[in-house]
Amino acid sequence: MFKSVDHVQEALIGQQYICDKNIATVVFLAEQLEKPVLIEGPAGVGKTELAKVVSSVTKRRMIRLQCYEGLDEAKALYEWEYSKQLLYTQILKDRFTSLMDSAQTIREAAELVGKEDSVFFSDNFLVARPLLHAITSDDAPLLLIDEVDKSDPEFEAFLLEVLSDYQVTVPEIGTIVATHKPLVFLTSNNAREMSDALKRRCIHLYIDYPTEELEARILKTKVPDAAEDLIDDLVQMMQRLRQLDLKKTPSISETLDWARALLALNATVLDEDLVNQTFNVILKYEGDVRKAQGELGKLLEKKTAEAKVEAPSQAEAPTPATVKKGALH
């Protein structure tokens, strides 16, 4: 259990997940209020990562349910194993016949069979899927329902029971209530808007693209080997790219990939050739690459101009900043 919002933030940073207070507050509230969290935001800003980190901080086992179109109860909650049940019936047929021998009337026989009901309708024939696992687990796990916006509206409605009461109803057996309430995270890319009923039951977290300062901090933590100048350049470049009207705006996960790629190429500063060669790490569409290349030219021009203005005043002792800016062209 977390003690305070600051405690959450420290713990997350301890796991190399750099976040602002907003995220920490939501995580704290989720655990205290025992409510599911609906995390929305563009792809690659660390929605799923947050769930993973929280699971390792709180030492909860993570159970993950990946949503997709056509996902139904049988794959999310449980499946009834008819064939196993059938097999049992056939194997036990002889025993039943001998049991039945003692019965005088049909009614008695039926009662005898009825006594053994529980043999055929028990967890034995229930194949648990992620949701049932999360509910019946011996310890309180963390349930991650990933990309819930990809599921059908019907499935969303079916989730409501789990989310509000932490229980599921299995027609063959009855209602199963969670002994240890799981911590539930739902992530959504907003492919479609979730229903109000679902939203009402959750507390909401919107993770946007990080600010320049936050992104730099994330990079420094996650890619500690990268030179500081390189990181600053990278972050500035990314912030600018996000202003462009791209088909797929690069997010923090792309920034990390890019930093690692540049590191692998032994780059210490960002220059035009390097950027052009590695653009495909962050941009996933040909059109986007073309657009970004146009912008890159402008950006570099501006940098040159800035460097020229700054250069005379700091001519005698070039600081790292001017070196960095000079190196960009």
Partner: protein, 472 residues
């Protein structure tokens, strides 16, 4: 505090952010667990429990500042300024205040007890001040409607607050201190401080009234916008309204989609599929536990859209196109043509990239037609008849959008007749009301015999109604 939060909830609701009672309760529970002292956390807690849509966040931020932090901040700023000016005199405020407190203690009883307000001002107790001003404002029954009333209500609040009284008290205090033998320089500084504080208090109260007005205006404007958007005529839309309208169209389309998927599912149950049932149940020893039914063939209409993009109907075209393309999966195929007088196909434009951009592109003629001519429906239909009649078959719904204002050209209704004979349905959406059809240069009456459904579509509600009929 509780009352304030409930009031804030109401303001959110009035601004179009849905906050259910359960969510308000969540907010209270969340605040129980957190220290309210931290403004950031307080704000996050309210946001995370009450606001559930990313798009509503900016709205929430704005309202939050208006309601919670803005006033306190301005209070701090104004009083900070007054104190700073004192700093210019080279006098430490803390020290001065300390001295005053000492002197006051010594002179107990000699000066009449200071009022709450004067005390709060002299000790710079901002929380107390905030409370006093709020109380005065509610006693003054501020019910502000326009900016001309700001002065009036500010004055009334000041009267309730009895600021002038407090000023007199403080000045008396300064004189008393002078007589009691306080350093004249310090007394001068104190007088300066008192003037500064009075000025600051006036500004703060005015500021507060302005905020009240903003708050009420915000509620009013939002409500007004939302209620009218559905009914608002397409002819008069501002840029901002077009943007908001897009959201509304999206929501409506989503609604129809949801209904569709339920309806489909019901339709799907056809006859028992014996072959599939046997195959599926082989693991159960051939005993049919799971029955498989034949899927009834989905009868999705093909859609051919003929869209007048002349400026008079541009807005209707915009939203109709957005509607149709948001519901793409409800149709097996959409082909889209635009015309003013020439006709051009823009299906390919609509298929790539962002739908809203594509629509704007298509409205510009999509590089295939010239939009700077006068409408000629006859010519456009003839062109369609010559080149694209094959696009129409007995599963096709032809959706025509235009005002049928033909500029006295030949209507060539026979082209539409041939289309009508081949198509499953011809639907005409006209932004003009039926009473105007056939008058002036309108040739709607000539086309009407060859149209199955002709509807007036002047606002979003009507548009949604027609689209609903179309897909079900």
């Amino acid at each position: 505090m509780q009352k304030k939060i409930l009031e804030f909830t109401n303001i959110l609701r009035n601004s179009g952010i849905r906050v259910s009672t359960a969510e308000a309760i969540d907010a209270f529970q969340a605040l129980d667990l957190l220290s309210i002292g931290d403004r950031e956390i307080f704000k996050d807690a309210l946001r995370t429990t009450m606001v559930k849509r990313g798009e509503d966040v900016p709205s929430f931020d704005e309202l939050f500042d208006l309601y919670w932090s803005g006033f306190y901040d301005s209070l701090r700023e104004q009083f900070g300024e007054a104190a700073n000016r004192l700093g210019d005199f080279g006098i430490d405020l803390e020290e001065l205040l300390h001295q005053i407190a000492e002197m006051l203690k010594n002179m107990e009883g000699e000066v009449g007890d200071l009022s709450e307000l004067a005390k709060a001002m002299l000790t710079a107790d901002l929380n107390q001040l905030e409370q006093l001003i709020m109380n005065a404002a509610s006693a003054a029954e501020i019910n502000i409607e326009n900016f001309l009333q700001i002065g009036f209500f500010s004055r009334r609040t000041l009267e309730q607050l009895n600021l002038d009284g407090a000023g007199d008290e403080m000045r008396d205090l300064a004189s008393a201190l002078e007589q009691a033998g306080m350093d004249p320089e310090q007394v001068a500084a104190l007088r300066e401080l008192i003037d500064g504080l009075m000025e600051a208090a006036r500004k703060v109260v005015r500021n507060f009234t302005e905020r009240e007005l903003q708050k009420q205006n915000h509620d009013y404007m939002e409500k007004f916008r939302r209620e009218t958007l559905l009914e608002k005529s397409f002819y008069h839309l501002s840029e901002e309204e077009i943007r908001r309208m897009r959201e509304v169209v999206e929501r409506l389309a989503q609604k129809i989609k949801n209904i569709l998927s339920i309806r489909r599912r019901r339709l799907n149950k056809g006859k028992l599929d014996l072959h599939q049932t046997l195959r599926r149940n082989m693991p159960h020893g051939g005993i049919p536990f799971e029955l498989v039914f034949k899927q009834r063939k989905k009868d999705r209409p093909k859609l051919v859209i003929l869209c007048d993009v002349s400026s008079s109907v541009a807005n209707v075209s915009r939203f109709m196109l957005q509607f149709c393309y948001s519901l793409q999966e409800a149709f097996s195929k959409i082909r889209c043509f635009v015309f003013v007088s020439e006709l051009g196909e823009v299906t390919h434009v609509m298929q790539e990239g962002d739908i809203n951009e594509a629509i704007e592109d298509a409205l510009e003629g999509g590089d295939v037609i010239n939009v700077y001519t006068r409408s000629n429906f006859g010519y456009a239909f003839h062109h369609f008849w010559q080149n694209h009649l094959a696009a129409v078959d007995n599963k096709t719904t032809v959706l025509i959008l235009g005002d049928a204002r033909n500029n006295y050209n030949d209507p060539r209704a026979w082209c539409l007749r041939d289309v009508f004979n081949k198509a499953k349905n011809v639907v005409w959406l006209n932004p003009e009301s039926p009473s105007a059809w056939g008058f002036g240069d309108s040739v709607m009456d000539k086309y009407r015999p060859y149209v199955d459904i002709a509807e007036e579509v002047r606002n979003l509600r009507q548009l949604a109604g027609v689209i609903d009929k179309l897909v079900l």
